[in-house]
């Protein structure tokens, strides 16, 4: 269960950011922004090690005291960032991978929508509902 989910375009501006406790939204924006540096580092680092096949899932980007940040890059250099609560230790790697899989699938659907111009913010309701399903339920 994520606390914040973000989709960032190739040019490093956000296409979509949603976080659950709406009050702290700015803090999450900041966290996602700083995680971009780590993503860039991982992408370029793997480029040098040409021996192994590059994976799209980047894994844990960095942990802070409250949160853990995971990253994923598509072949079109669109980045997905998921921030989860550190206290939620039951979340395993596989679950995070499956969340990214679902994000990627929904993003592909948005991309193929003829009414969507690449580079615009994502307004799709289907994408919204998929993301809501992955976020922590706050009563």
């Amino acid at each position: 269960m994520a606390v914040c989910i973000a989709v960032i375009a190739k040019e490093n501006y956000p296409l979509y950011i949603r976080s659950v406790p709406i009050q702290n939204e700015l803090k999450f924006h900041y966290t996602v922004h700083t995680s971009l540096d780590v993503v860039e580092e991982k992408i370029s680092a793997v480029g040098k090690a040409m021996a192994d096949q590059r994976e799209l899932y980047l894994g844990l980007l960095y942990p802070t005291e409250d949160y853990k940040v995971y990253g994923y890059v598509t072949n079109s250099k669109v980045k997905f960032v998921i921030v989860v609560d550190s206290s939620n230790t039951s979340l395993r790697d596989n679950e995070i991978r499956s969340m990214f899989r679902k994000l990627h699938n929904s993003f592909t659907d948005v991309m193929c929508n003829p009414f969507y111009n690449p580079g615009d913010t994502i307004q799709s309701k289907a994408f919204d509902s998929m993301v809501s399903a992955m976020m922590v339920q706050v009563s």
Binding site: K10, V46, G47, M50, Q53, R54, E55, L56, V73, T74, N75, S76, K77, H104, N105, F107, T108, M111, C112, P114, P118
Partner: protein, 161 residues
Amino acid sequence: MADDVLFEFLHMEMVSHIYKDQASRGEMDKDRATCVSTLEGMGFRVGQGLIERFTKDSPSFKDDLDVMKFICKDFWINVFRKQIDNLRTNHQGTYVLQDNKFALLTQFSSGKQYLEEAPKYLAYSCGLVRGALSNLGMDCVVTAEISLMASCKFQVVIQKI
């Protein structure tokens, strides 16, 4: 059964519609250029969406040549049901993709009669390749030429900033 042919018919209709549209508005001189760019623009957007779908599960590409090989094999197979027959490069950013029996041109009769009209039917595919490459991070210019009917060459020149 008739799946393959659906897109070919749609494409033929697309080209004739765009040209008819321009002709009905007069201005015969500017015709060709705007029609070609409209078709190319359509191909561009479709290419972007297609690439997102096709590369969903494949790992990242190592370099430009890898990307071009992907275009020649997987991409071309998914769109035109065959591979590119020949890929040549000068290793300086120019690639020539040769398709000896281009799917959208097979219906034309062979011989010189329709060689002049053929480029109209290549505009969309040029856009397709350009859109695909642009979404993979390579800005380029794609042009096509035909010397013999149904055999065409797409030239891709990567723009280095």
